[in-house]
Amino acid sequence: MSFVHLHVASGFSLRYGSDTPQAIVDAAVAHGQPAVALTDRDSMAGAVRFLLAAREAGIGAIVGVDLPLAIDGPMATPPTPARGGVARDPGLPRVVALARGRGGWTALARLTTALHEFGPERGLPREAFARVQSLVRDGGITLLLGPQSDVGAAVAARRPAVASALLAAWRATGCEVVVELVSHRSRDPRAAASDIDGSPVRGRAHSTALAARMWRFAVDERVPAVLTNAVRHVDPAGARVVDVLDAVRRLVPLDARHLDRSNAEGWCKDDAAMWQIATEIADAAGGDMHGFASDSAARHLIDTTNALAARCVLDPVAHAGIGEVHLPELDVVMGRVSAADLDTAWHRPVAAHRTPAELAREAATADTVLRGRCEEALLRKGFSPADPVVRDRLEAELDTIARLGFATYFLTVGTVVRDIRAAGIRVAARGSGAGSLVNHLLDIALMNPLEHDLLMERFLTPLRRALPDIDIDVESARRLEAYDLVFARFGAARVASVSMMETYRVRHAIRDVGAALGLPRGEIDVLAKAFPHIRASSARDALRELPELRRTGIGRMAAAGTLDELLTLVEGVDRLPRHIALHPCGVLLSDTTLRDRTPIQMSAGAFPMSQFDKDDVETMGLLKLDVLGIRMQSAMAHAIDEVERTTGERIDLDAVPVDDPATFALIQSTRTLGCFQIESPGQRELVGRFAPETFHDLIIDISLFRPGPVKSDMIVPFLRARQGWSMPVYPHPDLRPALAETWGVVVFHEQVIRMIATLGGVSLAEADELRRELGSDDGQRRVRSWFYPAALGRGYELETVERVWEVLRSFASFGFCKAHAAAFAVPTYQSAWLKAHHPAAFFAGILTHDPGMYPRRLILDDARNFGVPILGLDVNHSRAAYVVEPDTEGVPGIRIPLSQVKGIDDASVEEIIAGQPFTGLGDFWTRTRTPRPVVEHLVLAGAFDAVHGIPPRPRRRGVNRRDLLLHVADLDRWAGRRLPAGQLALDCGPADVPLRTGLPDMDAGERVRAELEVLGLDVTRHVVDFYTPLLDALGVTRSRDLPGTRSRQEVLIAGVKVATQTPPVRSGRRVVFLTLDDATGPVDAAFFEDAQGPYAGTLFHAWLLLVRGTVRRAGPRGVSITASGCWDLAEVRRRWLADGVEGVWQLLDEVPIDEDDDAAVQGAAASRASRPVMVRAGGMGQRGTQRVLVHPSGFRQSPWADLKPAGDDVAAGAPSRLWHASPGSSGW
């Protein structure tokens, strides 16, 4: 007979359970069990995916939460404090609350919310259960009182009267109450205080004997008893992982005393095994339970369990409300009703649902309001309302929106955007929403979709009932302000932010597993840091394949198999949820029923946050608005403010014409550092070859620079056709309208939609559904079996159909939404416009908000190359942020801000600014409380140079920075600071003015070193300047001279590392792209796999590099270097000083030894699956094999692309934050 597990924890029970909800469902299916429960500790975060997984598998899903109880009454146990005196696992008694029916889901959500209000470490009072149960009809809570509960503890302690009283209290809550029996066949700890050999007995409450006693107690009390297995792991082997989790949760090394389990029995056992347990309990209970023999008693126990399970099975739609759309009330959206003062307490009465009639009335009103808004905007924005193109498009969109009932949604987003804009925060829509005319008319999207031929169907069709996504970009520095506006408008009862589960990755996993095993801290640290930020399950492969890891001691240990057991545990922890955090952008908007449908807890920043993540939220049908903080928006806002502050002119950036020649000249020059989207080496190369001339070109450029086009090799034919070197090729003349804008090359999703619609003879909406199917293997097969007959039936040649299909198929999962690219092109254009017209303000914005991939020092160098003077740190002129300030000749320059000084805090910055101007160091010391180390940093970085007349070039006479440093020491010794107003300094104090002490001044080199140390910037001179004699001696080619080099010429380049990126590239191999800055501009070099082995370590860890490579020319301005080696410039210099140029040539000829240098990948097997598959590829007779990710479209990618390199980012001797290392999402 069948058995249903009612008490099962998944990994969403943080640091407690070890498996995914999916794995739990799979186990139930494997055992042929008709249903299974998910009862995580303190959380419903896994509930939604669990419901989906169970529905998919065709079994019943039961949802509960394992809740801690507030300590009161006689069975209270004290918490167990651990490291730091904090009770990490307070060891509170627990009950499992199962949801029954719709009311049960609501009650469970509210109980979970209540728990997080009280605090999981304090637990829930019993009254909370009563309050919540009283709120709901139609079902409610069923409580399992098991061995962990207060009742269980009383029974175990043989205090029947106490147990009885506690049970009565539980019954009085109104919740359904059952007694939960658990046997893990542990020893009964209560049988004897000491063992037969005199040692103390340790054990847990999951003994058969206790289960039998609880059963008898249940019979006496006339309460049903059910059997569970208190599951924490799906199969027995998971026991090790839960042991590790127990240790991690308590911050102690593994020890039997700290385990919650006493053996490995707490897994998803099959029916026979549970039947066996039931029989054993019945035997132990004496066989007279319910007057049955033990066999019948066991059957009765399992029957009762299954009957309860059947009543608790939730319907995902009817009970959990999956897929229901709950938009905010129209009155709130329209501002007719204030939303602020609604009570959001968990025990507030359940919200009254609006009746279907009310909802229908409201939807009709919303349609009317939306139409009115759009008509009004048509006139305001200068459309001609009678133009049939405009009219048809508007009517089509409004019709779709009305049919879906989403008018309120659009009005809601419109309201949010208007509120944000009214607060003076820069805001722009991104994503497919830019394709909707309605969005444009509501001022959600800036670009006119008709002008750029954007399709609404990519965003919203009547065929897809899901709420469309509208993403809003705001200034990153004011994102939380935007959140506050949403909360203010809609009220906390309707709004919550979305959460995000942070999961274990390899570094965390190694640290936690290592600590649990009690390995020495230092060793754990070395091991953890050795890994890049990857999934723990990839650890073994990383050790085998990455040259920079394989060559380490750890790599050798792994190769010898001595880390196997550790790595097995690490893999067991992989991807387990670790921490719930605020999602960086998602905001939920709903009506007042929000808190009946989702559990809420507070984020660290005190925002109400749903326990559901963005996928769950989407499944639930909750309206999610992505409000993304974009640093570039903050940078541009800062630039606009600086222009206004210095010139009085207020730029309306959103109204700037998009055909400015100066802007396109700048873009074509490839001097686009700091510009949104087009600053990466790869993009600079592309704009150099492409030379965009119009805004539409920018849209194409942004779309081309994606894995899809790179993979399909679209860039070359596209550029050839565009430059007029070849004629555009169209698969069929009918496709010319769809493809003409890109010279026959498919770049956009929108073009795929049109191609399918044209050849297949379907509507654009249907075509988009088919396009979405192309993303999976199965989908491709389905679309193919439809597409061929459809297109052939419409009279197209087989050859044409095959050619088009090949294009569609290879486009598959990649490609780009044109609407999204158009939305993205706006800030790209705007940032380039600012750089072209207001460079000083632009650089001030970029340097302040640091939006891009490059370190500040490179941007500063770029500013210098643009003729923008850099004004040094100055106590009297520096502000909190980078500001525009004219230099002595009146040219607008940028002033280095106080906030850039190492160790300074906001309070000090404010105090200094409030105290400006200062007459000197002594005055500064007296009137501010800036700590001495910071004052010294200020002196070293030259902040007092101007006020004390120290000239830019070192001199022999007069006071210098070293004198000032001594003066700081004097001032500190005499403590003559912070005098209350009116009090005179003592006569015996230090001199008011610093004196010349005879110490030599810092020379230019020392000054730059101090600047790098203190500011992270080389302000006065470029670091590479100091290497000029060496570089000249070696004949190193400078960035500015590269355009004059021949293709395939061997060159040496050198400079400061500003970026390394490891992006996905066409060949499927890992390529490391390196950008150096050599004071004349950036130089880019690519390291392919054959060049990485011996040099990867230097490449990732050195700061100043000499690189050897061959020139690769691509297009008029495109020059890049294929590297064949790199060396630490400091080492090269030492060799040069010792042995001269000959010594350096010798150094360059020595190839570092890499014993097991793998040959390059020979090509991945063309296996096709819906998701990328990892393929081992290796030639005959090669020792090493390398793996390649193969996407369904055939795109190959190195598994190590998109990774941060291993190790600390700080090379010895180089200050931190000086270069960028990234997976390359923002460019190459």
């Binding site: 066949r185 037969i196 050999d197 039997a256 006493s262 490995a264 029995e265 095993l517 390995l519």
Partner: protein, 97 residues
């Protein structure tokens, strides 16, 4: 945990239930099984010891402990016999004289 009583042990079990044992060169007959339960092994100690050396067998996760009354030529004793799951390994973990 107190130290295990040393001495060579062989156990004869029928269907997993111990019936006879030989310990310190003496034979005993199991007269009665007093109780049995499942106990966790200290697997982590073995793992932690072995980091950095080649691993042998994975350490056992748990064992079944049988508390039996056993009679030999010199009289009866109560012992706890632990059986590592999935192996033939038995050990005598506790002894009451």
């Amino acid at each position: 945990m107190t130290k295990r009583p040393p001495g060579a042990l062989t156990v004869v079990a029928v269907d997993g239930v111990p019936t006879r044992l030989r310990w310190r060169d003496r034979s005993y007959l199991v007269e009665r099984v007093l109780s049995h339960w499942v106990e966790s092994g200290d697997w982590w100690q073995a793992v932690a010891r072995r980091v950095g050396t080649a691993a042998a067998q994975p350490a056992p996760l748990s064992c079944t402990v049988w508390r039996v009354e056993a009679r030999g030529s010199r009289g009866a004793m109560v012992v706890d016999l632990a059986h590592e799951d999935g192996t033939d390994t038995w050990s005598l973990v506790r002894l009451a004289d």
